[in-house]
Symmetry: none
Subunit: 228 residues, 2 copies
DNA sequence: CCCTAGCATCAGAGCCCTCTGAAACCCGGG
DNA sequence: CCCGGGTTTCAGAGGGCTCTGATGCTAGGG
């Protein structure tokens, strides 16, 4: 999952970045509205956190501009104080949720997760495919009830595939969503992670949850249906 | 399906090419308007992606020129930033759709697919001919509800035939749309693929979905009508 | 009835994509 | 400073896909 943080207070920004990264997001940050505008136009994020009170170009302008360009990235606005009007303005500008500015990181994370889930069309935080369960809020995978220990990238790869279960996802799309924009394309990291996932998720080669579609990419699918 | 990408930013161009190829298109690319003009005149594409902001001959000129020569290839224009006027200009020049330039690759792909479908006169991404179903968005063929596993070229061949169901397609036209322009013509690859398709689609020789029209080419047809 | 052009079929060669295991690297913690 | 888990690279193996060329078949014209 790729997140963009737009916040002029550099301390808070760094702190958020760190928190989100610990949480498994790939984070890019910006301290001013002008740059944020550009970034949102140029790159694709799964979630954006935007402070309303930015110098120069305000957060509202940033969101409005994105929206007017058809950008559908879920946006959570941070409002200074518990300012009632800012919240409304933010939502009207096209934000999806808001949080008043002294906040608990936990709550921010919970809301971000909810937004990401909603954007991918899944209401419930838990996706179950047969014996495989994905809990996006807990960032946990279970196989027949047993937790499977995955590393950060293993998890992200699987999460993206599961959120798009049934669809064939090209390797280009996967890397684009897992890594920063400047990632070296000709590498086979992905294949390595796919291999690890297959090993961990399906030790006896019976489920075959991840199918290779030669020349196109990978597809997550299991017989039983998505119960989200 | 054959696509032409006209874009002067070589990074973006390469990236698009890669993405489209992974999606199963045969891609040719050009970095300038003059060459694009020529290519569009000389060859037949199923879809063209044209950046408006080209040096020398602009994207608008390219499109206008194609149109004045009666070329009906579906064109999607890329406009820099959310530039309202460029969009209108593009459409007036004869483009069929537009996308503001920082865009989501997935959205571009979705739109291209829609254009290609529309151009072939089909509204829905799923074409059904009796027990045979073609889902162009998922790139999947089903026979009586069962997925038929096709390789990349098998699929492309069948897709082109099905999108032109009822029409007799010459072998020249088929190779032209499936392969790059410099493809060696005297080969019997096509016949080999037709053979494999007939095997896979019609194991008991009862449907006969692909007819040979001696001296002319092949035709996809089934008794029941197109339900798209 | 034969002859020829066009098409069908087949098996194998070659290539490209993917997989795999091991080793190197990197970074944070002890 | 070393250690260890995580990530990435590398190189070779493996296997599937595509293409070729030979050969057999069929339709249609003379």
């Amino acid at each position: 999952m790729k997140a963009l943080i737009v916040e002029d207070d550099s301390d808070l920004r760094r702190q958020l970045k760190q928190q989100l990264e610990q949480r498994g997001y790939t984070v890019e940050e910006s301290g001013n509205g002008r740059e944020a505008l550009y970034l949102g136009q140029e790159y694709e994020y799964d979630i954006a956190v935007v402070d309303i009170g930015l110098p120069e170009v305000s957060g509202l302008d940033v969101i409005r501009s994105w929206r007017s360009q058809g950008k559908v990235v879920p946006v959570l606005v941070l409002t200074a104080r518990g300012d009632w009007q800012d919240k409304v303005a933010g939502l009207e500008a096209g934000a999806d949720d808001y949080l008043a500015k002294p906040f608990h990181t936990e709550e921010l994370l919970a809301r971000l997760n909810a937004l990401v889930r909603r954007a991918s069309g899944h209401a419930s935080p838990v996706l179950a495919f047969g014996p495989l369960e994905l809990d996006t809020s807990a960032r946990v995978i279970k196989l027949s009830g047993e937790e499977v220990r995955l590393t950060s990238y293993e998890y992200r790869t699987l999460e993206y595939l599961m959120l798009n279960a049934g669809k064939t996802i090209s390797k280009a799309e996967l890397t684009e969503h897992l890594y920063h924009q400047d990632y070296d394309r000709d590498s086979n990291v992905l294949e390595v992670f796919i291999r690890r996932l297959r090993q961990k998720l399906d030790p006896d080669q019976s489920l075959k949850p991840i199918t290779t579609v030669r020349g196109l990419g990978y597809r997550f699918s299991l017989d039983s249906a998505d119960q989200a």
